[in-house]
Amino acid sequence: MHNFITYYIGTGFWGSLVSSILPLVYIMPYALVTMWLELKISAHMQDRLGPMRTGRWHGWAQPLADVTKLLQKEDIIPAAADKVLYLLAPALVFIGSYAAYAAIPFSPAYIGADINLGIFYIVAVSAIVVLGILMAGWSSNNKWSLLGAMRTAAQLVSYEIPSSLAILAVVMVVGSFNLNDVCSAQSGWFWNWFVFGKFPFLFITFIIYFIASLAETNRAPFDIPEAESELVAGYHTEYSGMRFAFFYLAEYANMFVVAAVAAVLFFGGWNSPFGAYLSGPVWGAFWLISKGMVLVFIQIWLRWTLPRFRVDQLMYLSWKILTPFALLNIFAVGLWVVLRG
């Protein structure tokens, strides 16, 4: 599809524009659907129905109504806020999440940017989010926001280490940073997926990556940056209307990024679980999105089940448990790769 676009529109300004807007066509409906799913899943887990009226059928239009409401709201900028940073922060947070979509291989035929350092790129641009959150917290001129932003910065920086180390283990096995190569290495039936032990230790790697990625999305049990019972709303306490919606959208976009990366690294990416059956460019996109959504569902499930960690416990988990295990894991995987030659 990417080739298709470049063939017809060229690689000039318009071609780049179309290619870069394309993920947005996916993110918007995805975010709306996931918001609705989260409302319904959490409701059913909690023995209630959730939205039932908006749009008649099981409240399917609730996210649309929510977004419309947010659009209509007044965009409040606190008088004491640092205006430039305050206005820039939500955009930066969203850009950080959005830019990562460029390197996600949605199907064998469509990847926004088929670069050799794909996974490295995703890890790098995701780090922009920290900057945006720090800016939001600082510029709001609110103590709760500041505390939330500080916590976030510490948390995201800490958890990038185990997650990067986990990714490194897969890269060592595949011998490439390119996400399409990672997918190709897992082709065939589903027992070829890395998570099912085609290579030993990679299941542990997946667990490490998944826990760390949960922390990177700032969701429970790691939702300390916006712990509503402690910090009111953390770094986005002062935001309203569309700017608040941007933080919200970025969170959902980010959830899918980490889920898609996990799907690519450990669950075969766009590969069909049934070997050559149901595979191809379109089925590829279907499988990647399905796998990603299953992982997103697990994120939602965990969020509505577990309580929240405390800041120091969170740091403990990252530095004293996940990071040493990730290092050991890398050592084990490396040894195995060397011995198998």
């Binding site: 909690q46 939702d223 019972s229 402690e230 009111v232 089940t305 577990l306 309580p307 929240r308 405390r310």
Partner: protein
């Protein structure tokens, strides 16, 4: 090298904060995220109960008692009517006492469910909160069938009750008990023994028994520190002496005796004990007329009385002075939330802001009760 000094920040927690359980304002002096001092400021919900009481006759005060601790209205009424009856020196039929005990214990479960549910919410677990409210709803339905009200009942009157038990109440209550017992276990699996929950609450906000006693703490806050003190057992009123149940105390199962987890867990255990009391009361409830002892005119002799009882939050005492008229000369309520809240600075110094939430929640205050 000169000692490095960082600046402390004053942080206002409340009165509009999601986890101060109402309109409590805590002035936090923090060093980074470490709490140096916590000063509770109260009075945002002050409604002059005691002054109001001086202007009304004894029966009219009951609805005001409902509104003190709005999560445990039955228990508040219970304490008040016991005080008035003691002042009047009247005996009420045994059936009335049985029904009062059943209602008080149902209310205790309902109140503890709110405490436990919102505590889970404070720690970040959203789901147990809704499970707790689902079960509380059943208790409120029972109250509704009995007296028409779901929150503020005006059910217990000096000398009797506003209504007898409706037909089918006993069966419905039995059905509720049958439903509720397994959900306590579910709650324990989901929340109480959850690894993260234990990590958040064990060894946090440790309240040693001697400090608890010095501050006059009572209820689960005191029992969490391992002190076996429950007025239902130690100074039995109504018909509590007839039932077989245990006073649950914190034992430091997962941390230190008197930590947040102990205070929380005492409430969970108490719900089980309350079920035991209700079951026995339902089995042995005598027949009788619940309104036969209600005096036409409440005009107690001049004198004073102090009557205390165990509400879900601790010792609620009413001190009533009568000058022989139709209105009390003075009514003073000794509210458990107020006394327990005074402990807050003592148990929160040196912990993190996140722990502050756990500590406030574990003391389980109701601001209506604190401010009156």
């Amino acid at each position: 090298m000169a000692e490095l000094r960082t600046e402390e920040m004053v942080l206002n927690m409340g009165p509009q904060h999601p986890s101060t359980h109402g309109v409590l304002r805590v002035e936090l002096v923090v060093d980074g995220e470490v709490v140096v001092d916590a000063i509770p400021h109260i009075g945002y919900l002050h409604r002059c109960f005691e002054k109001h009481a001086e202007a009304m006759n004894y029966q009219q005060i009951v609805p005001y008692c409902d509104r003190m601790d709005y999560l445990a209205s039955m228990n508040n009424d219970h304490a008040y009517v016991l005080a008035v009856e003691k002042l009047l020196n009247i005996q009420v039929p045994e059936r009335v006492e049985y029904i009062r005990v059943i209602m008080a214990e149902l209310q205790r479960i309902a109140s503890h469910l709110v405490a436990i549910g919102t505590y889970g919410l404070d720690i970040g677990a959203f789901t147990p909160f809704l499970y707790c409210f689902r079960d509380r709803e059943m208790i409120l339905d029972l109250f509704e069938t009995t007296c028409g009200a779901r929150l503020l009942y005006n059910y217990m009157w000096p000398g009797g009750l506003s209504h007898d038990l409706p037909p089918g109440f006993i069966e419905k209550t039995r059905a509720f008990i049958k439903h509720f017992r397994p959900t306590i276990k579910e709650l324990n699996d989901l929340l109480s023994y959850n690894e993260i929950f234990v990590k958040r609450t064990a060894n946090v906000g440790v309240l040693p028994a001697d400090i608890a006693i010095n501050y006059g703490a009572s209820g689960p806050t005191l029992r969490g520190s391992g002190v076996k003190w429950d007025l239902r057992k130690d100074e039995p009123y109504s018909v509590y002496h007839k039932f077989d149940w245990e006073v649950m105390v914190g034992k430091g199962d997962v941390g230190t005796v008197g930590d947040c987890w102990d205070r929380y867990m005492v409430r969970v255990w108490e719900m089980e004990q309350s079920l035991r009391i209700i079951e026995q009361a339902l089995d042995t409830i005598p027949e009788g007329d619940v309104q036969s002892a209600i005096p036409k005119r409440v005009r107690p002799p001049a004198g004073e009385v102090y009557m205390r009882s165990e509400t879900p939050r601790g010792e609620l005492g009413y001190y009533i002075i009568s000058d022989g008229g139709q209105k009390p000369f003075r009514v003073k309520a000794r509210a458990p939330s107020f006394v327990n809240l005074s402990l807050l600075p003592e148990i929160s110094r040196g912990y993190l802001i996140a722990d502050m939430i756990a500590i406030i929640g574990s003391v389980d205050i109701v601001l209506g009760d604190t401010d009156r």
